[in-house]
């Protein structure tokens, strides 16, 4: 009896082990897609054709820090509502929101607040069955002991990338798209709030350039517009898009140069984009972004 059972178990494990070579983790983790919304073969294909990093929790935070703006907790989304995000869509979207906030906290080394945010992120990630890719214990240890901020940043970003890849590979790219959208919405919100409090030419220009990122994001989201949550999100983002529409971005052409700097091959781009944005247009973007973002992170 035991011999038969052993044969069955071993055969099963061998099949799983072979499948793992193609990075399909779902079967070994015993996951189903009950928290997703089914397969998206066409959208899956489309996702692979679009850009990898529409939004990054690092770059906007780095820009804000680089222009000398001090840290402010008031820009961050409250973790109080996290229990009310009870659909896979709202969990994925707010995972992106808190991911961007985590990037901002890490950028300013605010480790005391990191634990609160990673606790919520862990819960939301578990809610869409990707919690196993979020290295909560290591992040908590690094944050609690206020040690190795570089590792804290690396593990945070890497965890989000792994969750994103997993969702895409397992026919849940709709949730991946929502996560990406959450990161973008919180990133533009952070930038516009900082701009409102401490106007800065460089930041204004970067906000204007988000016109192109929003266009890419809408291309991704449109693959899933049949899902009500995403259709509503697209409608909200179109309110922001309407404020971006009058902005023009022109390109001054130039040839790239290669130089060696500190022993590293460095390519200096001599093309340059110029953003034409008026104070009034910027004000419209700031106000609309604030309204849309605050609506989106409310109880759903």
């Amino acid at each position: 009896m035991i011999r038969k059972l052993a044969c069955i178990v071993i055969s099963f494990l061998i099949i799983i082990a072979c499948k793992s070579g193609k990075s399909d983790y779902s079967s070994q983790l015993g996951l189903d897609d009950s928290t997703g919304t089914g397969e998206h073969p066409v959208a899956q294909e489309a996702m692979s054709q679009v850009v990898e990093n529409v939004s990054s929790p690092v770059e906007m935070a780095a820009l804000i820090k680089s222009i000398g703006v001090p840290f402010s907790q008031k820009y961050l989304a409250s973790t109080d509502n996290s229990d009310t995000y009870n659909t896979s869509h709202s969990k994925a979207f707010n995972l992106g929101i808190f991911g961007a906030d985590l990037g901002y906290l890490n950028m300013y080394s605010k480790t005391s607040s990191v634990v609160e945010y990673i606790t919520v992120i862990k819960k939301l990630a578990e809610g869409i069955n990707v919690g196993q890719f979020f290295d909560f214990n290591t992040l908590k240890r690094l944050a609690t002991n206020n040690e190795n901020i570089d590792s804290l940043m690396y593990i945070s970003v890497h965890s989000f990338n792994v969750m994103d890849k997993y969702l895409q590979k397992n026919n849940r790219s709709n949730l991946s798209a929502l996560m990406v959208a959450g990161v973008w919405v919180e990133g533009i919100y952070l930038a516009t709030q900082v701009q409102k409090d401490r106007p800065n030419k460089k930041l204004a220009e970067n906000i204007g350039e988000q016109k192109n990122m929003l266009a890419e994001l809408l291309i991704i989201l449109n693959n899933y517009k049949k899902e009500k949550y995403i259709a509503d999100l697209i409608a909200d983002l179109n309110l922001i898009k309407a404020k971006f529409d009058p902005i023009t971005i022109s390109i001054i052409k130039g040839e790239p140069e290669q130089v060696i700097e500190n022993g590293m091959l460095t390519i200096k781009q001599n093309d340059r984009s110029v953003v034409n944005i008026t104070d009034e247009q910027l004000k419209d973007i700031i106000n609309t972004t604030e309204q849309v973002r605050n609506k989106l992170i409310k109880i759903q």
Binding site: I14, E52, V54, D150, P256, T266, Q269
Partner: protein
């Protein structure tokens, strides 16, 4: 005794599976570390390509990225120890090549390059293996600083 053997086997298979998954993560971490202490990891690209058959064009993997203006990025490539071919990566802006870690004409190689981006937009990176060999490599995109 049989029960113990069965449990041992189960543990062995579980460990093997976990170890494989962990190795991929470790490779990414090591390659990210190669980018240097001044670089912040943003994205990794795990590339496995077959060898070119006959006279066909060498296989390549393509990814599209958004890079932001006034930002210094670092592109790093790490070829796996057991890879038959040496991996290299190229950065393209539309139809124009911006940078490469290997120049087939001169044979010059770099473990990576920095890119001072002055124009936000969609860029493409291509991964290939020298002489169209099969290969296994990891590419890392890192953020260095705002310019």
């Amino acid at each position: 005794m049989k029960k113990i053997s069965l449990m041992f086997l189960l543990a062995f298979f579980a460990f093997t599976y976990m170890a494989k998954a962990q190795t991929e993560a470790q490779k990414v971490e090591i390659c990210s570390g190669m980018a240097g202490a001044d670089a912040t990891y943003l994205k990794d690209f795990q590339v496995v390509l077959d060898a070119a058959m006959g006279n066909e064009k060498p296989p390549q993997a393509k990814y599209s990225l958004i890079l932001q203006k006034d930002t210094k990025y670092r592109f790093t490539i790490c070829t796996a120890d057991d890879s038959p071919g040496k991996g290299y990566m190229q950065l393209w802006d539309g139809e124009k090549i911006i940078g490469t870690t290997y120049d087939p004409k001169t044979g010059r190689e770099f473990k990576g390059f920095d890119f001072d981006c002055q124009k936000s937009g969609v860029y493409h990176i291509f991964f290939m293996f020298v002489d169209g060999k099969a290969g296994n490599a990891i590419g890392i995109l890192s953020f260095v600083k705002k310019l």
